[in-house]
Symmetry: C2
Subunit: 168 residues, 2 copies
Amino acid sequence: MSHETAPLDAEQLGAYFALMEVSTLLQHAVDEHLRADGDLSYVQFQILARLTDAPDGKLRMTDLADGVVYSRSGLTYQAGLLEKRALITRTPAPDDERSVIVTVTDTGRGLVAQVLPGHIDVVRRLLFDSLHKRDLATLGSVLGRVREHMRAAPPRSAKPRAARPRTA
Amino acid sequence: MSHETAPLDAEQLGAYFALMEVSTLLQHAVDEHLRADGDLSYVQFQILARLTDAPDGKLRMTDLADGVVYSRSGLTYQAGLLEKRALITRTPAPDDERSVIVTVTDTGRGLVAQVLPGHIDVVRRLLFDSLHKRDLATLGSVLGRVREHMRAAPPRSAKPRAARPRTA
DNA sequence: CGAATATGCTTCGAACTTGAAGCATGCCAC
DNA sequence: GTGGCATGCTTCAAGTTCGAAGCATATTCG
């Protein structure tokens, strides 16, 4: 409790703003290219990529949603779109009737393969071309540690407030 | 052109994913608190914060939009909401009839002051509590450099593609 | 077993976002 | 000075997002 309301110093503020701005710009750039190259949004690409990496190309809806940091209802919506384009299939899980198993199709894998080079290229140009090997190593390890820290902290819901009408 | 399609190595991929995941998680957490504390979305807070920092608390719509990396139409929408809550005012620019000058009101400043401590607290807990002083310095300087690099590169629009119906 | 609770996904309504189109004002060249 | 392009904002339609509520299947515990 030693720091409850102490302000962030200038260095911290700068790092925070830089982080948010960099990620926003990067996401916009990547999104643009994915759309041009394969008519995919960033979220859709993330879903497909994650499935492509998964064993057998299969994942449950919930795990997928957690993986991409996305709402469940949002995922249902996007899964519907991807299924319509035959990039994935949805089948009830054999062991748990409630679960839905999402699977990448060959078409889906093909599309990922098609857009991946361009995607990577954008990331490289924007993010890595300005970094030395040393910086890269630091950035990766520092962010990796932060990620672990965040995953551990459960800020999820935990809000015993009376249901406010959500005006804004 | 030496690297047009070379894949990213594992280290780069890791840093990229960590960056995106950290920023997403952080943004969600911050958004949640802002909403609980002051009924503000992250975007709305950004707008108010930027105005609060600007000389005289005034900015033109376009500059504001560029500052928060946001679409113009989106900004018009949010400005409407904020104006309704008397957090900002919109007045035509005296020197250029086309421009609109946005100004934070005292109420707006008050609200920012009210939510700021909580905001900062979330950022600190999630982002900085896991970092040593040394890491922080590196993160800040590295991201700062990346940001400069990105701002320089003009990926903006520049898409002479035929207007596709934007299917997905 | 059977009720109570938890878990997994979808549906629903409302809010937010975006690019394109629309309008107005400014700027430039002729 | 005036026709043509540029700039700044708003409106519009379509798509996306989220949380809450709804449903169905699992699990737990009496």
